[in-house]
Amino acid sequence: MAKYLIRQVLAWLVRIFIAVNLTFFVASAFLDPASNYAERRPPVPPEQIQRMLEPYNLSTNEPLWHRWWDWLTGIVLHWDWGHSPVGEVVNDQVSFRIGMSAQLMMGATIVAFVIGVALGVYSAARQYKLGDRVVQLISIVALNTSIVVVALVVVYLAIQINRATGSRIFFVTGAASIDVAGFWPSLVDKAQHLILPSICLVFISFAQYAMMQRSLLLDNIAADYVRTARAKGLPQAKAIRRHALRTSMIPVMVTFAFSIPAVFTGAMLSENIFAWNGMGQYMVQTILKNDINGAVAVAAFSSLMTAIGAVLSDLCVVWLDPRVRVS
């Protein structure tokens, strides 16, 4: 097991290394840091812009090859991911934003998983009845609606509610108000900010768990061991919960494990709509601001998260399913 795991981890690390370097070259080719200074009044001459970019290792006076080597050695030797074209430190940005994203995403992902599995079990137990049809319909709509549409509808409704009640029940942007002090007031304030983006994220992600859980449970409900359990005298509900659900939840758990790391960058659209200073928003801003080093850092983070997800889901299978043996 340990040997298999080490081999997997090494393979992923090699892939991440290549992916990050590829992103560095693509970003260097397509993003132009000098354009951040082009709008300045009075205009800055191009040579001076290059001189200003030089300390950040972004000047095109230096060949790309040199910049790449400086960038790589900076990371390997000092864990320094560089600066943005206007001098912000990428390390600070990333470490702050990972926490912000985690605040938003962890709760939403877990709630989506619980709701999804519960609805999946509910509709599988009532196959082709009204409840099942309704859940299926909602799931297929939720699964195929863009989060942009969901988020903006939620924002619109929140604004209407705020207007109707004449008070700010929901905040449609940001993570916290600045003028709130004390434990309970800030907790309420946090909830007022968190609720809308969380609703959106739960709405678009519960359906995949619900549909998956339903079809897997249906495969297992007809299995011999569930019939045996029923023949022994177990009620249907108990037979499903104790026997069928246990085996059929394994692939759903695996998908869940795979999706935990992906949530950090997956919230990109909702973070942008709700002005939440997380990794997803940072990714969009780095591209808009031609921040090569920042974009590469986001790429590295998301590659790492994908790899962690893949290894986690492998581990999850071995851990949950006693039939799987890794050699």
Binding site: T23, V141, V153, I287, S303
Partner: protein, 308 residues
């Protein structure tokens, strides 16, 4: 249950006859149509999708306003008989913009879904058929691309294009084929052990011909379903890119760029958001329902085949 059983029997019966007698090929199609029509949501999905395609193709005939025609007398007007979907703050007609955006999103979606399925089918089947080094190389590339920050790369490359939709098709195809290729590879590995592949191989049929003539047609149903699902995912990615300002830009219009415009004026002129958003939702949900129906209709082993 008895209905299900009988469908399965007829399915097998017809399969056998068509293999002996190619003249009766249409009966298989008739069977697919029959199975598809049993799935009511799928039929509704198909109808909605066809209406949307017709609107995208001919909807501009119904309005005197082109997408760039500014009506100075009607700024930020709610929906009315002249401007069916209202106008935005510069006086542009939202109906004609939505129709144009729908067409743009559809073209991109169909092109990307088509191109990715061709690439994925060829590479996936080739990897499964050849095995060994070819398989290792193709799977290596697929696994590598899976760890790549695909959306970031798409955005970085697309923002440089200045909003060209052809460029967007290229970018979305370049980074969009690998998940499908993996699925096709997985299914093909079971097909490569079949007798007819072995027979073709022993008869000395070249590898490429075996892949194109024997393997790809036998995963046809999977390809159709993946193609239709590809339309949904492409519409989603195109919308995401354009919404963030990396995809389609002015003077061109897509559903994503309309949503971006709509977001800015959500509380003052909500119709500028709701019409494009509704159109997009109709498109993705109808296509998804269609995919569901196709999966059941084309797959003889599908549990829901005859019942739904």
């Amino acid at each position: 249950m008895s209905l299900q059983q009988s469908t399965k029997d007829t399915g097998e019966f017809i399969d056998q006859t068509t293999e002996q007698d190619t003249g009766k090929r249409h009966t298989r199609l008739a069977l697919y149509v029959k199975r598809f029509r049993r799935n009511v949501p799928a039929v509704i999905g198909l109808a909605v999708f066809l209406v949307l395609v017709l609107v995208a193709a001919f909807g501009w005939l119904l309005t005197p306003y082109a997408i760039a025609d500014i009506d100075f007398m009607a700024l930020s007007q709610p929906p009315n008989p002249t401007h069916w979907f209202g106008t935005n703050s510069t006086g542009l007609d939202l109906y004609s913009m939505t129709v144009h955006g729908l067409g743009r999103s559809l073209i991109i979606a169909l092109a990307v879904a088509g191109l990715t399925i061709v690439i994925a089918a060829f590479l996936g089947a080739l990897a499964a058929y050849r095995g060994g080094k070819t398989e290792a190389v193709i799977l290596g590339v697929v696994n590598f691309l899976l760890v790549c920050p695909v959306f970031l790369l798409e955005a970085v490359i697309a923002q440089k294009s200045g909003g060209s939709w052809v460029w967007l098709i290229f970018v979305l195809t370049l980074f969009g084929w690998m998940v499908t290729a993996r699925v096709i590879w997985q299914l093909s590995t079971s097909i490569r052990e079949r007798e007819y592949i072995a027979a073709a191989r022993y008869m000395g049929v070249p590898g490429i011909v075996v892949v194109l003539r024997h393997m790809v047609p036998n995963i046809g149903s999977l390809l159709v379903v993946q193609f239709v699902l590809g339309i949904v995912s492409t519409v989603m990615s195109e919308t995401a890119l354009s919404f963030l300002g990396f995809g389609i830009k002015i003077p061109d219009v897509s559903l994503g760029s309309l949503l971006m415009d709509g977001q800015k004026v959500l509380s003052t002129t909500p119709w500028a958001f709701f019409f494009p958003a509704g159109t997009m939702m109709l498109l993705t949900v109808s296509v998804a329902l269609m995919a569901d129906g196709l999966r059941d209709a084309l797959d003889p082993n599908s549990a829901a085949g005859g019942r739904a």
